[in-house]
């Protein structure tokens, strides 16, 4: 265990150093790829912190991402960025508490479809609001350089990973896993089920809110149908499944894998890429349900014995 932990720490330190220096030697194209990678890592880590541990599969994480982007677009040039970013995160947390308190009473497939429904509901409310105001998309002028956004996202990805790492080892994480295995039994044994679930849901909403707010500065254009798109939620789940959805390193591996695949194929053959993504998803669920990280971890622990 100490040896693998040491290897993981070394890999993490080397990775962080590499990523911190990256803007110095990478061109605009690769910086763009890394921006994408970091935002997926941050989004998926926050998803794993709640859904991966508790087993409550949320198909609505796009709503927090979209809300963060919306708040940034609304307040753009009305307030300084460093104030809008935490505000976007806090707004997502509040939304998560409002949604989560009633929604977390339903389990299994009801919860999955309910989160998707809630996310779509809020998306169409934003669309209607924007239409009522008479705005068709909002343009953000004078956004910060990609390098600035890069360091913001890097910090966020590190925070998100650390959060999942800490949560998965804490008492809280143990409680969430107990809920995943058998919620009724966990409740009977004195696990504060409702509190842990709602708390983790709220906590996991903060990061997507901030990522959305940063990402809309990158695209410089707010379009609700795109930013609240269920495709965002689905991608998060796919990355989590491919990488491994129970441990902090999983989403990093999953996001790296998917971003590389998409760079290789997306521009040349988007449909082939998506077919491949579908096949991969089925393959991982059927044959590697613990994801890439789970597989690597199992390989090493098997070797030690």
């Amino acid at each position: 265990m100490t040896k693998t932990a040491l290897t993981e720490i070394i890999v993490a330190v080397v990775g962080v150093v590499f990523l911190t220096l990256a803007p110095l030697y990478l061109g605009a194209y690769w910086l763009g790829v890394l921006l994408q990678l970091l935002s997926w890592v941050a989004l998926t880590e926050s998803w794993v912190a709640f859904s991966g541990l508790s087993g409550y599969v949320s198909l609505g994480h796009a709503v927090f991402y979209g809300l963060g982007a919306y708040i940034m677009a609304l307040l753009w040039q009305e307030a300084p960025i460093w104030q809008i970013l935490p505000l976007a995160g806090m707004a997502s947390v509040i939304l998560a508490i409002v949604i989560g308190y009633p929604a977390l009473r339903v389990r299994g497939p009801y919860f999955v479809i309910l989160t998707l429904g809630l996310s779509e509901f809020i998306k169409y409310i934003v669309v209607a609001l924007e239409a009522a105001i008479g705005s068709s998309g909002r343009l953000l002028l004078g956004t910060p350089d990609p390098e600035v956004l890069y360091y913001l996202l890097l910090a966020l990805a590190i925070v998100a990973t650390a959060l999942t790492f800490w949560l998965s080892r804490s008492r809280w994480g143990v409680g969430l896993r107990a809920i995943r295995e058998d919620e009724t039994a966990a409740g009977t044994l004195g696990v504060p089920v409702a509190f842990l679930k709602t708390g983790a849901f709220a906590l996991s909403a903060f990061i997507p809110g901030v990522v959305g707010a940063i990402w809309v500065m990158r695209t410089t254009y707010f379009e609700p149908l795109e930013l609240f798109s269920p495709a965002v939620s689905f991608s998060i789940v796919t990355i989590a499944i491919v990488g491994g959805s129970d441990q902090a390193p999983g989403p990093i591996l999953g996001a790296t894998f998917i971003v590389i695949l998409s760079e290789l194929l997306w521009a040349r053959a988007p449909q082939v890429y998506l077919v491949l993504l579908g096949l991969l998803l089925i393959f991982f669920v059927l044959f590697l349900p613990r994801g890439i990280y789970g597989q690597i971890a199992a390989f090493y622990s098997g070797k030690r014995r």
């Binding site: 497939p109 999955v112 429904g117 509901f121 169409y124 409310i125 009724t184 789940v237 082939v272």
Partner: protein
């Protein structure tokens, strides 16, 4: 207010309800018997729609005949899906422990594959064709003939399924499996065979629905998603696995869609549909006719 009581809206609602009832039935069957969440349902509909579209445009075969081909093709696809993937999933202990979310992911993978294969083969353009579009006056409303055909076949197919589940041995066996899976196996119901049948039947119903929908509405590779969502809303409203509840849910959702839009504006369609869905689920988490269970 006068328009709300027009027979035009009533007919529109009935047409939508017939299609919704059919789609929801196919989804409910697969969920009810095996606890699998088929999020590729809408894509299978689109497959059925494409069969009828190409049969009409290339071969001049009318949808009334080509829907049989759509049923056959999707039924075979359903059987193949069960035999190659889901037979193993249902049996595998590790996968079966979280069957619902795992099946959702597998079917989601399948739906991306179907969408993009359709888009690769036929382009992403929406397709529609003119067939039986003469306007018929009926109970004071003016309706295209193809909508009436859609209503008639949709209602007839739903009724046929209801009769099948009420009176035939096989239909009763499927319902027994939905109610008490283990007990049904104990009294000699061959669960494996029924699973295969349910997969073919559930997919075939989607294929038929797609073929019907394609007569009146444009179909496209990515057009299935909204039908999948509607079907899920319906079966959750009615209670998952509850076939009668699904019929009620279909009527309710089509009522909200048609009358809600008529009373407000088409821009609010999605807000109304999701709003009613969320409200009902929060008040009655087990669905309107669902029984409270773990």
């Amino acid at each position: 207010m006068d328009t709300l009581f027009s027979s035009q809206l009533l007919v529109a609602m009935l047409v939508l309800a017939a299609v919704y009832a059919l789609i929801a039935l196919g989804l409910n069957l697969i969920y009810g018997t095996m606890r699998l969440l088929n999020v590729a349902h809408g894509e299978i509909m689109m497959l059925g729609g494409y069969v009828s579209y190409w049969a009409f445009v290339k071969l001049g075969i009318v949808p009334l005949i080509s829907m049989l081909a759509a049923i056959l093709l999707t039924a075979i696809l359903g059987a193949l899906c069960y035999l190659t993937i889901f037979k193993a999933v249902v049996r595998n202990r590790a996968l079966a422990a979280r069957l619902e979310s795992n099946s959702l992911l597998i079917f989601f993978g399948l739906s991306i594959i179907i969408q993009n294969l359709l888009s690769l083969s036929f382009s992403a353009d929406p397709r529609s064709y003119a067939y039986l579009d003469a306007i018929i006056p009926i109970i004071g409303a003016r309706v295209e003939l193809n909508r009436l055909v859609e209503l008639a076949i949709g209602a007839a197919a739903t009724a046929a399924c209801v009769i099948f589940f009420r009176y035939s041995r096989l239909g009763l066996a499927i319902r027994a499996l939905i109610q008490q899976r283990d007990a049904a196996s104990l009294i000699g119901i061959d669960a494996e065979k029924i699973n295969l049948l349910v997969f073919s039947l559930g997919f075939a119903i989607a294929g038929l629905a797609g073929s019907l929908v394609g007569m009146t509405t444009a179909i496209s590779p990515f057009g299935g998603f909204s039908y999948t969502i509607s079907a899920f809303i319906i079966i959750i409203l009615g209670g998952l696995g509850n076939l009668a509840g699904g019929l009620l849910g279909a009527v309710l959702l089509s009522f909200v869609e048609i009358y809600g839009v008529a009373a407000t504006s088409s821009a609010y369609r999605s807000i109304l549909v999701y709003g009613v869905f969320i409200a009902i689920l929060l008040v009655r988490p087990q669905g309107l006719l669902g029984r409270k269970s773990a």
